[in-house]
């Protein structure tokens, strides 16, 4: 029963993500989301009491999704250089296969802080994802591959770069698919962060 409710919640979040991406966050209403799933509006509220709650649950859902993928990379016994490349690949792959996810993160979560001010303070709602990035950095420094530096300088360089590329892709400015940039970006990021 619990699993079925969880599954339904995920379906709602997925539909909401797609609608937010196509119609925009503010123009999408709970009835729109209910309609896309052929659910009654009343039933929708059994799952999410408000759009803001749904919005916060979605960002946590994305964080858990990406965090799980990064954790798999972190737990592999491979050099930091390879981990760097794999993280970029996973991020870009997610942006290509589930563009609405990264889109939500960049265009809704980061741009509408008022929606997230209660319950998503600081990095609470993206904790799983940020934790894995921190562990990637920490283990890289510990084994001597990465240079010790301020966390946010490194985090900004890494995530700002990836986010920027996905944003450009979303604006149809990039001439190539994201995959086509993995080599150069992995090289650039590792060169910037490494002790080499």
């Amino acid at each position: 029963m619990l699993d079925r409710k969880k599954l339904k919640k995920e379906q709602i979040m997925q539909s909401a993500l797609e609608l937010f991406a196509s119609k925009g966050f503010y123009s999408t209403t709970i009835p729109d989301i209910a309609l896309s799933l052929k659910m009654s509006v009343g039933n929708m509220y059994n799952y999410f009491k408000s759009k803001d709650i749904l919005a916060r649950e979605i960002i946590k859902y994305i964080s858990v999704y990406l965090g799980k993928k990064l954790r798999e990379i972190n737990e592999e016994d491979i050099p930091t250089k390879e981990k760097t490349r794999k993280i970029i690949e996973v991020y870009f792959k997610t942006a290509s296969l589930k563009p609405e996810m990264i889109d939500y993160f960049l265009r809704i979560y980061l741009s509408n802080r008022e929606v997230f001010k209660d319950g998503c303070e600081g990095m609470i709602c993206v904790n799983e994802f940020v934790t894995e990035i921190m562990i990637y950095f920490e283990e890289g420094v510990k084994c001597g591959d990465l240079r010790e530096q301020d966390f946010f300088s490194a985090f900004g360089l890494f995530m700002g770069y990836l986010g920027g590329m996905v944003f450009l892709k979303g604006e149809n400015i990039l001439p190539k698919d994201l995959d086509g940039y993995v080599d150069d970006i992995a090289f650039n990021i590792y060169k910037a962060l490494s002790t080499e």
Binding site: G122, M123, I124, M134, I135, E138, V141, K142, F151
Partner: protein, 293 residues
């Protein structure tokens, strides 16, 4: 005449810090009513050091202070030989302080193969293997006098002390120094804007405090009955641990913002999750001075 327990206080390679710490025990007269030093470096005793090394004076407890090396002599006799002689006749051996237990700072002395009685830092040493069952370790630099005295009374009363892997009584070493620290609220909410000597702020995040991963009772059994390092505004230096002394005691070693040493038994992901949540909130009360004039 009361039946006192006879105690030999043997100083090996030591700064005598434990001797001095012991003198701060507030009920020394009562202690000396129950125990008698057959020899102590600064308290009057019946025998001289020469007597101790040349004869075999009846003795119940051997206390060893300082790191041990075959090369180091007292009254022209190697401390190893003195330990071997008295260890045979005593009921119990107590390694007093971190040097006698793990080697401590005097591992760096010029004497060859300097270590604690049973441990070279955290590595077990074979040298006195047959004495393991007789030994209790009370580490610390120095050891808290009450920890030493209470251990001796436990021996006197034949109370069975549960020991940890380094032979330390769990009664005193099952806790971390963090336990009872008056700055715990600052730790919980990750308020790390500490200035040395001030009352506010946690020292774990930036100032090298080792309390969350150091075993001992400093914040439970206070020093001079009033205070502890962390209460006074100085970071815990981890002086009861095999790794003591580390370098850079006043700064927290971090790898890209994550402390290299985390609270005992706390996994990295758990720590980061909790820290991330705490850091997201600003608790005004904890950002202010406690006494705001």
């Amino acid at each position: 005449m009361k039946n006192k327990m006879r105690v030999l206080w043997l100083s090996a390679i030591a700064c005598n810090g434990n001797t001095h710490s012991f003198l701060n025990y507030p009920f020394l007269e009562q202690f000396l009513d129950d125990f008698e030093f057959i020899y102590h470096p600064v308290i009057d005793s019946h025998y001289t050091l020469e007597d101790i090394v040349s004869k075999e004076i009846p003795c119940d407890i051997l206390l060893i202070e300082g790191a041990i090396s075959k090369e180091f002599q007292r009254a022209d006799v190697s401390v190893v030989d003195i330990i071997e002689k008295y260890s045979k006749i005593v009921q119990k051996i107590v390694t007093v302080g971190t040097c006698a237990t793990f080697g401590g700072i005097f591992r760096e002395s010029g004497y060859s193969e300097t270590s604690g009685l049973h441990f070279d830092q955290d590595k077990p040493s074979e040298r006195f293997h047959d004495l393991l069952d007789k030994t209790i370790s009370v580490s610390g630099c120095p050891v808290h006098p009450e920890v030493l005295v209470n251990t001796l009374y436990a021996i006197k009363k034949s109370a069975a002390l549960k020991l940890d892997n380094f032979l330390r009584p769990k009664e005193f070493y099952a806790y971390t120094i963090h336990n009872g620290c008056t700055r715990n609220e600052y730790f919980e909410y990750k308020v790390d804007n500490h200035q040395f000597g001030e009352l506010e702020g946690c020292m774990f995040y930036d100032h090298g405090c080792q309390a969350p991963f150091t075993h001992g009772s400093c914040n439970k059994i206070l020093w001079n009955e009033v205070n502890s390092k962390t209460r006074a505004g100085l970071s815990c230096m981890g002086c009861t641990e095999p790794t003591f002394p580390k370098q850079n005691l006043f700064s927290t070693k971090k790898n890209m913002a994550i402390p290299e040493n985390l609270p005992v038994g706390v996994g990295k992901r758990v720590y980061l999750t909790l820290a991330g949540i705490s850091k997201a909130f600003k608790i005004d009360r904890l950002e202010k001075k406690l006494f705001d004039d």
